[in-house]
Every structure is written in C-alpha cells, then in structure tokens.
C-alpha cells in the first residue's frame, strides 16, 4: 500500500512538472501569436474607450502597454505580473482579467459539469445497451444515431434545439443565465438551472457519442470472451453477466476517457455559449478575439490549457490506479 502511494505521488510529481512546462510553452506561443498580429490592440483599446484621445494620452497608453519595447521584454514583464496573479485589465469589460475569468468560469463550470455528467451517464448507458444487443436492431439504430450526432456541428444543434424548445414550444428561455430584469443576487437556483438546461443538453448531445461507441466496443470484447461464455453456460442471465463481468471491466476506462475529453468539452462550450448568449468563458473568449481584447484572450487561453491539463492529469492518474500493469512501468 505504501509503495503504491509512493508511486502515485511520483507520477503526480512528474505530471505536474510536465504541466508547468506545457503551460509555459502555451504562454510563450500565445504571446508570440498575439504579438505578430497585424491588429493594433492600442487602437482597439482607444476605440473601446469611446472618447477622443489626445496624442499625449495615446503616448501614455502606448508607454503603459510597452509598445516600443522588444517583445521578449514585454513577455517577461507580462509573465512576471502573471506570476503575481495580475493578468492585466480587460479592455472589453473594463475590469481585471482575473476577476472576469473567475466570475465567468463559475458559469462555465456549471454548464460543463452538467453536460459532462449527463453525457457520461447517457453515453455509458446507451453503450451498454448497444453492446448487449450487438448486431440487432437497437444496436444498429443507436449506432446510426451516434454517427449522426458526431457529424452535427455543436452550434447548429444548439440552433435547432433553440428553435424547437424555446421559439416553437416556448418551454425554455432563449438565452442568458438568468431572467432579464432580475438582480444577480435575487436569481434562484431553480431559475439558473432552467436557463442552463438547453445549453447543457446541446453540449452533452455533442459529446456522448464517443463515450457510447467506446463502451460498446469494450463491452462487445468482454461479452465475446471465454469467461462470459462459461458464465452463460452456468446459466447466468444477460443482466447478471453485465453486472458481474461487464460493468467492472468497462466502467473505469470509460471514466478515464471522460476525463480526457476536457478539451472537446471546452471547445464545444465556446460554441454552445455563443448560441445561447450564456455568459461563460466561451462567449468571453470569442468576444475577446473579435474586439482585440489581448489581455483577456491570453488569460483565457492559458486558463483553458490549465483546465485541459488538469483533466488529462486525472485521466492519467486514474489509468494507473485502474490498470496495475501501467502503474509498474515508470512514466
């Protein structure tokens, strides 16, 4: 037990080192990309102020942004501020980037968590159904559905759901995370969930196909094994076989896959949030790019990379726990 824990700690440490180097590289590359952009952020910042700016004031702003300094020096000063927790000022929202990210991440997290759990549960259940009915009509039907859903763009699915459930039937609101005209602190949990339902459904429909097809493949493998044949010969029914032999060997790999899918989840949430005008990180990053809000764009890029890395870290650690053969090999 002690040795296993030690191994886990060592793996955790080595992955953490990897994450730090990856995040540093992401910061260098994203900073370089923003630097080579022909779009002038100072001009955009001044446009965003909405007032006339005298040449002296402009010079002051350029001095503050360090326009005439070499990019490497600017990067180092940005990184230094970043390590002190200062991500700069968002030109779009007129607030510190860290505050914007913190506030919007709560919204995004609620959305992604709902979608993630929903996709995992539905996908796993449907995968089990497909595996058990392998080759018969429920399998074919559900497999067709999975293929169809993986060909549908997220934002179009969002549009169609919006058309059907919000415009035609009027069951759900058209957008935003809370009713219009209600103060932020007065919004009840029920109202938040009600506004969350359609975006979360869109996002989960997008991501359940991969988990369902993966579960199906694994379960077919398990069910064609000799120990399942023996169990069947002993007279175990389909449900008992699934419970005793199937679920145990496919549940944790499916969970690992779910944790490794954080990148697609975040990418999908960018689109879903834009369709439903949901105030999360995804709609903020699209707005930041369109309005040339460089500090916010950089901040969210780094944050999304961190989010994906944490997902991959959990997936890797889980993998070691689940499969002892991997744990014994040094990473």
């Amino acid at each position: 037990m002690g040795r296993a824990l030690g191994r886990l700690a060592r793996r955790f440490f080595s992955y953490s080192v990897r994450i730090v180097t990856l995040l540093l590289a992401v910061s260098v590359i994203s900073f370089a990309l923003v630097t080579v952009s022909p779009i002038d952020p100072v001009q955009q910042y001044i446009l965003g102020l909405g007032t006339a700016v005298s040449p002296e004031q402009r010079a002051e702003i350029e001095d503050y942004w360090g326009v005439d300094q070499p990019p490497a020096k600017r990067y180092l000063s940005w990184l230094g501020e970043l390590l002190h927790g200062n991500l700069g000022q968002s030109a779009l929202y007129r607030r510190p980037v860290a505050d914007v990210i913190a506030e919007r991440f709560v919204n995004s997290l609620a959305l992604m968590l709902c979608a993630w759990v929903l996709a995992g549960v539905i996908g796993f259940a449907l995968g089990c159904v497909m595996g058990v009915c392998h080759g018969r009509w429920p399998d074919r039907l559900l497999k067709g559905l999975c293929y169809l859903l993986s060909s549908v763009p997220t934002f179009w699915l969002g549009l169609v759901l919006l058309l059907v459930f919000a415009v035609a039937l009027g069951w759900f609101p058209v957008g935003f995370s809370s009713p219009i005209g209600v103060r932020g602190e007065d919004v009840s949990l029920w109202q938040r969930l009600y506004h969350l339902a359609l975006p979360a459904l869109t996002l989960s429909l997008m991501s359940f196909a991969s988990i369902a097809l993966h579960t199906r493949q694994k379960l077919i493998g398990v069910l064609s094994s000799e120990y399942v044949l023996f169990a069947r010969a002993r007279g175990e029914g389909a449900w008992t076989i699934l419970r005793r032999h199937g679920l145990r060997s496919i549940l944790l790999p499916a969970l690992t896959l779910q944790f490794a899918s954080f990148a697609e989840l975040f990418g999908g949430s960018v689109l879903a949030e834009n369709v439903f005008s949901y105030p999360g990180l995804g709609s903020a990053v699209a707005a930041a790019g369109l309005n040339s809000d460089v500090p916010l764009l950089l901040g969210i890029t780094l944050f999304s990379a961190l989010f994906v890395c944490v997902g991959n870290l959990i997936a890797n650690l889980l993998y070691g726990v689940v499969d002892p053969r991997i744990g014994t090999v040094e990473p």
Partner: protein, 274 residues
Amino acid sequence: MRRLNRRVRTILLAALLGALLAAFCAAALLIPESAAAPSLLDARKPPSWAHPFGTDALGRDLLVRVLKGMAVSLAVGAAASAVSAVIAVLVGVAAACGSRWVDGLVSWVIDLVMGVPHTVLIILISFALGRGLKGLLAGIAATHWCSLARLIRGEVMELRGRQYVAVSRHLGKSGGWILVHHLLPHLVPQFIVGLVLLFPHAILHEASVSFLGYGLPPEQPAIGIILSESMRYLSAGMWWPAVFPGATLVLVVLLVDRLGDSLKKILDPYSAQE
C-alpha cells in the same frame, strides 16, 4: 433483399458523394451572382416551389446561397485537411526515423497542441493572422494533424522492425532509399483514410469558427455565416435559414465520415472480408 457487400456499398457511397460535390461545384461556377441578388419584395418567404429553401431577410434565394456556401466550405475544408495530412506524414515519419530527442520533441509538441482546446487555438491563430481566410486555413491545418501523426509514427516504427527492411539495409541501401521504396508505399492507405477522416472535422471547425465571426468575411456565403445571420431572425419564427443550410452541411459531413470509415475497413486486411 440480399445485403450488398461493403465494397459495393462503399462505391455507391463514393458515387453519391461525388455527385453531390459536383453539384456544389457546378452551382458555384455556373449560377450567376444575380440569382442570389437581394430583392426586398421576396424577403422572408418560407420554402416554396420558386424558392425550395425559402429566402433570407434580404430576399436572397437560400438554395443558391447554400450551394455556393457549401462550395466555399468544401474548398476550405479540403485545403486545410490536405495540408494537415501532409504535416502529419512529415512529422510522423520524422518522429519514427529520427533520433530519440526528435521523437520526444514531437510527442511534446503534440501534447501542447492537444492541450489547448481547438476552438480557442483556432481563434488565437486567426487573430494572429488578422482574421480572414488565411487565418482560418492556418488555424485548422495547424490543429488537426496530431492524431494522424501519432498513427503514422506507430506504423513506421512497426515497419522499420520488419525483416525486409533489415535485408535491404544489409544490401547497402541508404535510409532515404528504404524510406521511399519500403516505408512510404505502406503509408498510402493510412494517408488516404486519414485524409478522408480529417475532412469532416475540418469542415465542422470551419463552419464553427465562421459562425463565431472569425474566418471568412460576411459577404462570402459560407455556411457558418448564413447560420450566424439566421440567429438574428430565430425569435421571429424564421426557421428555414437555420435548418436547411445546417442540414446540408450535416449530410455532407455524415457521408464523408461514413466513406472514410468504410475505406478504413476495406484497406485493413483484418476487417476487409467481414
């Protein structure tokens, strides 16, 4: 009715897809610009015989716009996935044949590209290149090569251990000769399948990023742009500008995806006779 075997079904699928793509290209080249000219008298008409997909808020015929838009989207998707597949082969072969540090570097770069959500990375690259078509192409090409590169690296690694490669080396052939005559021909099926399967992802990302307002300029009739315009009229009950363009896109993506999957099964000797 006897079920057709996979080979025949694949050929039928490819023929159907080819006819569709030819129709989009013909529409883009032959139908004059005037067919999609705005006319306010016809604005916001639901689907009818004169306008099978209806008209948009400016009275432009949506069927014409969708056909032209699909041609643009397909061209962008094809170009981006071709570039991406070539990058994947170069990187994969380099990782498998180069020294250990090249391999380590490649796997680190792949982790890096996979570590940022694709949509965010495409937004960033598009921003770096001043938005527009160039940024969109570069963004999609730069983000889609990773999984194919990993596959090709594994394939080359396995091929390099084969006896005939060892024999060839002992006969005094150079590394480059072995690469061209023994390794690359084996990669052709992987490359084709990888290319076909990259294509749907590339079109979907192109449409998504155009929808967000990056990528193609608003006057281009790309599918993403038609759909983002349709957002404004959704609550007024105009369903046709949202449903038809998206459904056309889904149809093409689904067909290409199924074609790639069938090709993969046919070209793999283990599943070819299933």
